[in-house]
Symmetry: C2
Subunit: 409 residues, 2 copies
């Protein structure tokens, strides 16, 4: 008996979530056991709202369009941040979901997302099992934060890392031109895990030692030590470039960004990151030229410089999900394990989704130097292969030729 697939995307954007969707489509279109592939618009919310589109009609036989999907950032199908109601407390969400799954004759439910989205995968697969629905549910990982358990690294991370490393190198070139002392503070995403900030280390090459200081949330941050570190660096070089995670916090766990709460002339609170706060601190304590740059959302959407390794892995993790459901797997997430670093080889597997949902993986403290202001070689070796390779991008009138996302609700 043929079955239909329903696939959705959820959580925050990366540049390779659509590569995973393309992987699902590519595998499903070549598979006799699968009839139609449907897409949920805005993730599980689109199931509840019965906003479902026919992806087979949209993509099958159109290699060019599939290729365009593969390199387009963010979510073609739209996203959501909706947490399904626990059926033990209120069964209405789940009943609605299975009503819609029945309506579209769905046998395979695939969900691309981070640790919150794996909670949805877990809930739906559990409910199916407990209520005798013949439905396989598989999660496909994604997050720029690289904080998922049970996977060597997450799709989306390598591309964000490549953007960060490239941007820090380019800002180093921008900084080196004057003979005056200056400090550049680069604020990088990652509230609880410092992987993205650590990736700035990949900007270092034969002539560039920047970032000269790297501060991660896995180590307590002291503003006094920060100023002392910069003063020490300024003895050795004119320009000091610092990478700081948005999630750095003091020994009591208070975020440094919380110190930068400001009020404008009307007395209402202005939000900004810790970069601006540290900028003003350097200005006050050292007095040299100082600038802060917040990479902001660009680090998660700059698909024009995606890592080819990352795009390929995201695609294969999508393919692997189709393979998994056809082999009767459910309540699992597709994953990858690193077999070797040089040559870089990974193996695609599946892992129980319960081991991933609602958990976070941080950088091991032993991969950070003792002073907490730089990373160690083990971490560099781990990161290096993930940013390798460039895509052949197609441009139209000077801008990347991406695919139009679906019309969201």
């Amino acid at each position: 008996m043929k079955g239909n697939v329903l696939v959705g995307q959820s959580g925050g954007p990366t540049t390779v979530i659509n590569a995973s969707l393309a992987g699902v489509l590519g595998a499903a279109f070549n598979c006799e056991q699968i009839d139609t592939v449907y897409g949920m618009v805005n993730g599980i919310q689109g199931v509840i709202n019965d906003h479902i589109i026919d992806l087979t009609k949209e993509f099958k036989g159109n290699e060019k369009k599939l290729e365009q999907l593969r390199i387009t950032p963010s979510m073609f199908l739209g996203s959501c941040r909706y947490k399904l109601k626990d059926p033990a407390v209120d069964v209405s969400d789940m009943e609605r979901v299975f009503e819609i799954l029945k309506k579209y004759n769905i046998r395979y439910f695939l969900y691309i997302g981070g640790n919150d989205s794996m909670d949805t995968v877990n809930k739906v697969s559990k409910y199916a099992k407990e209520n005798g629905y013949d439905i396989q549910v598989i999660g496909i990982p994604k997050t720029i934060d690289n904080d998922l358990m049970e996977i060597d690294h997450t799709p989306g991370f390598g591309s964000a890392a490549k953007y960060i490393a490239t941007s820090v190198l380019e800002m180093a070139h921008d900084t080196y031109i004057y003979y005056m002392q200056s400090v550049l503070i680069v604020e990088i995403m990652g509230r609880n895990a410092g992987w993205l900030t650590a990736a700035s280390v990949l900007a270092r090459n034969s002539y560039n030692a920047a970032p000269h200081l790297i501060y991660l949330p896995e180590s307590n941050f002291s503003t006094e030590q920060f100023i002392a570190d910069i003063k020490e660096q300024l003895k050795q070089r004119k320009q000091v470039i610092v990478a700081v995670s948005e999630g750095i916090h003091d020994e009591n766990g208070e975020y440094i960004s919380a110190k930068s709460t400001k009020t404008d002339q009307f007395g209402h609170v202005m939000l900004s990151g810790n970069g601006k706060y540290l900028e003003s601190l350097v200005q006050k304590e050292i007095g040299c030229k100082v600038r802060s740059v917040e990479l902001n959302v660009l680090q998660r959407c700059a698909a024009h410089i995606s890592s080819a390794t990352d795009v390929s892995e995201a695609f294969h993790l999508g393919e692997k999900a189709v393979d998994a459901v056809l082999n009767g797997r459910t309540d699992e997430m597709t994953s990858l394990q690193r077999i070797s670093n040089d040559p870089y080889v990974v193996e695609y597997t599946t892992v129980p989704v319960s081991k991933v949902a609602n958990k976070e993986k941080k950088i091991p403290r032993e991969w950070i130097n003792e002073a907490g202001n730089d990373v160690k070689q083990e971490l560099v070796d781990y990161l290096k292969p993930l940013i390798e390779g460039e895509l052949k991008m197609e441009y139209n009138q000077g801008i990347p030729n991406y695919i139009k996302p679906v019309d969201i609700d």
Copy 2:
């Protein structure tokens, strides 16, 4: 008689100033009348400090290294912001400059820079003429701001424009995924001229209408109208993306960024742009989700996405400078005029540097819509060809393979 060339770079970075330097070197190395090409380290300051390097030794016969120079951002030779003392008031600077020019037997003096640097070109050439030195002095234009007179557009602008357009498109993809209302404010460089902010319009394509609002310094900015404009947009669409120039000001000429002066918890002033201010304004007046992104220095150094058109033109303007001095020209800047838009054709010329030095070119008011919140088709037509074409970049371990800049003082 053979002569030597002295070439320098000055002012703020762009991604194509080294392409102009490569153009100078390429032309000079193929030229019988030229012996050695010297480079000033940190512009005119390097002349005063006698920090001069032999570029012939460094680059001649090394095509690979010249190609690497051509695509590396910022200044290989370092920069300066030094304004030469007016010899009518204090002749010491100029006497020192000509002492060094004599020391290195310099006959041709080439200077790559913006309107301030053209002041240096003007002063040096005038002093040479008045004091009977047989030295030709030619300026080569550069600035991301596109605000030089007597040139159709400036080298560096097209690449910054391509980065801005691409980033705004990518941020649009990032924004479209949720079904809730949101506003994204993108703050773009350009204190007095809005060219860079206007270039965000090139992010629009067959499916993307963002930026939905564009505010330039050439038109007075009203915060009331800004809020009204966004409310109007939110009636038509869920996500509104706004491009604002850092230089927007009210009808009295007061910068909007000046309104965002804030104090931190210790009572000292925090600097930030108008994006953060407008973000808090939208939060207060409209109350929807809102975020601001400052493109910051990335827009002037992201050479991995330089415009091939821009790089080529910068290179030719460097070549043209060698051609000009050999033809006895002095006190001029190399320039380009647009012959036609479709096909896009430019012609390389020279113009009197006195018409460029210390002047600024702004966007004609008639290229901006009456409401002052969008640009007109004439401006789009002007901008379009400038971001066309992509470079074949070489990467090493996942990051661009740029050239090491000289060790600056």
